[in-house]
């Protein structure tokens, strides 16, 4: 009998021939990711009475949640983190402006096939797009990992999601994953490993794969993976210098559920307020007035997302009643978009371009809403009150849908502009 991706990665990490779902193992992560919450983590760490982290090369710390600092408290927080990084000799530190942690981590070569990556951020599963086992943990235990280099993990059972067909024009990975979450619901994959496979997945760029793995958190997944192939290897070349051994699920692995989807007739989707699983085709909410559009975040802030928006907006102008915020997910993305004229096209169309970072996604700054306002966003969460007022509304959608909606001033199917 064969084993799933998660079972094989975790068995290798702990030096066992095999592991079973439900088994508790003590894993040694290859990378520990944290962000603006590192100050709080470091306080836990010092409270235990330790002075040195177990291995400073394991830590990857990216300032992204409130960047640049929006208040004195944020600024003090950032300074605490810089002091901790200097004290501990942590080289994997990326300061304000480098980008969102889930974009920066792989760009800087900290994700590779077969790696075990944990992060004190719930969207750490994003890095399964690179063939790694990547899972979110809490802040308390991030400190424990810093101290000991180890953490307990319960081996998850696996769902396999096989996707066939060819993605239609103006329909993208974000629409696919919203559709799946609408089916499975917010807890449908709770504590499961999710494997995405099939020809439609293989046809996705790395950016598209990151969208799927990133959003898998919103159906409760422990981790998600797209197994490495030539697309993965090409993207990683030049970024990852270490040798790595890929892990692939066995053909006769045992899955708790196998689901199949076909994207051939997939329509653009939205998640309506106030839950991510409140999904319907865009057509059902078309015509709803919006006040703000957001293109960015760890879900959809990459070059191909900005280009999808540019393709719709180039030479045109957004509706007068709308603010369109664009946040490239990293400095690298920003530079590429500048070079290709994408930023100029978006600015000329009326977009407000903000610095790489998490921005308004979590309501900290850079686009918070007033009561009654509506934002259509490429982010991954639309919980009530998340972007400011508890009486504001957030719809989640693809970059193309957000751009089309900013153009018209109402929620719009991108196939119609």
């Amino acid at each position: 009998m064969g084993y799933t991706f998660a079972e094989k990665v975790l068995a290798r990490n702990v030096g066992l021939d095999s592991v079973e779902p439900g088994q508790i193992i003590i894993a040694r992560p290859d990378k520990l990711l944290s962000h603006d919450n590192t100050a709080a983590i470091s306080r836990h760490f010092y409270k235990i009475g330790l002075e040195r982290v177990h291995n400073p090369d394991v830590e990857v710390i990216v300032l992204d949640h409130v960047v640049p600092a929006a208040s004195e408290a944020d600024a003090i927080n950032h300074r605490t983190i810089r002091e901790f990084v200097a004290q501990q000799g942590i080289s994997g530190f990326y300061d304000v402006g480098t980008g969102i942690c889930h974009q920066v981590l792989p760009e800087k070569g900290h994700a590779w096939p077969g790696a075990v990556i944990v992060g004190s951020d719930s969207h750490t599963p994003t890095h399964g797009a690179f063939g790694a086992f990547a899972a979110g943990i809490g802040r308390t235990e991030a400190a424990a990992v810093m101290a000991t280099g180890k953490l307990w993990l319960r081996v998850p059972a696996t769902f396999r999601i096989v996707v066939e067909g060819q993605m239609p024009e103006r329909v993208s990975a974000k629409d696919l994953i919203l559709h799946i979450i609408g089916d499975l619901r917010a807890d449908g994959a709770n504590y499961r490993a999710v494997e995405f496979a099939g020809p439609a997945i293989a046809a996705l760029s790395m950016a598209g794969r990151m969208v799927l793995c990133n959003m898998s958190t919103e159906m409760g997944a422990k981790n998600a993976v797209v197994e490495p192939d030539d697309t993965t290897r090409a993207w990683l070349a030049g970024r990852v210098t270490r040798a790595y051994d890929e892990i692939h699920a066995d053909a006769d692995a045992s899955y708790e559920r196998i689901l199949t989807y076909d994207v051939t007739n997939l329509a653009p989707q939205v998640a309506k307020p106030h839950t991510v699983d409140n999904v319907c085709p865009v057509a059902e909410v078309a015509g709803k007035r919006i006040d703000q559009g957001l293109i960015g975040t760890c879900t959809n802030g990459r070059l191909e997302d900005l280009e999808a928006a540019r393709d719709i907006l180039r030479g045109k102008h957004i509706a007068e009643s709308v603010r369109l915020l664009v946040l490239p997910a990293s400095r690298e993305v920003l530079l590429a978009a500048l070079e290709k004229g994408v930023i100029a096209d978006l600015v000329e169309a009326g977009a407000t371009v903000l610095n790489p970072g998490c921005g308004p996604c979590l309501g900290a700054h850079q686009g918070v809403m007033a009561p009654g306002e509506v934002t259509i966003s490429t982010a991954n969460r639309n919980f009530k009150g998340r972007m400011g007022s508890k009486e504001a509304f957030t719809y989640l959608a693809s970059p193309a849908t957000v751009a089309a909606s900013a153009l018209t001033g109402v929620i719009t199917d991108p196939r119609e502009v």
Binding site: G138, R139, A144, R154, A221, T275, F383, R386
Partner: protein, 177 residues
């Protein structure tokens, strides 16, 4: 040895229609605007203040009380404060149909007792705010109004961490072995 059985008054998290809340996410448990707070003592006052109908929870709850909720309690972000705010209030246990994966880890690692009672939503009428119930972490048994419900007992690692206090004390104890 910490107590493996607790008894307390329950707060059953129902929506304005009286239905048990499912999918209570960590934004509702502890809103973004308080995320800069890292002192546990200051967190309790904001617990559930973003959950419709429960905005005054922290004023009503007493140490020793037990929270009861539907499925996928603690969905969403990994914020530690969503666990610590209940510890700050002295909540002795959270019973839910199921928990979000990261929330579950956070709670276990902080030594906050959580107990999953599958199919709770189907039995929700039996659980009324103000009742007193007993829960046994070792056997998973919940006793309410003379009825016994079989919840999931603590896993071994959960019990070991709970007895040690939290993940750090547990780790220290392991190193010393």
């Amino acid at each position: 040895m910490k107590a493996t059985k607790v008894q307390g008054r329950i707060w059953v998290l129902t929506d304005p229609q009286g239905q048990l809340y499912d999918d209570i996410d960590t934004d509702q448990i502890f809103h973004n605007r308080y995320l800069h707070i890292t002192d546990v003592a200051e967190m309790g006052q904001y617990a559930l203040d973003n959950l419709e109908g429960w905005e005054d929870f922290s004023e009503k709850a007493q140490p020793g009380d037990i929270v009861v909720a539907g499925g996928n309690f603690g969905a969403g972000s990994s914020r530690q404060q969503a666990v610590d705010c209940f510890r700050a209030l002295g909540i002795s246990a959270i019973i839910a149909e199921s928990f979000g994966a990261i929330y579950k880890r956070n709670a276990i690692n902080s030594g906050l007792p959580i107990v999953a009672l599958p199919r709770l939503t189907g039995m929700a009428e039996a659980f009324q705010t103000g009742d007193t119930l007993k829960v046994d972490f070792t056997s998973g048994e919940i006793v309410l109004d003379g009825q016994v419900y079989q919840a999931q007992p603590f896993s071994q690692v959960q019990m070991d961490i709970y007895q040690a206090g939290d993940i750090f004390a547990y780790g220290k104890a392991l190193e010393e072995k």
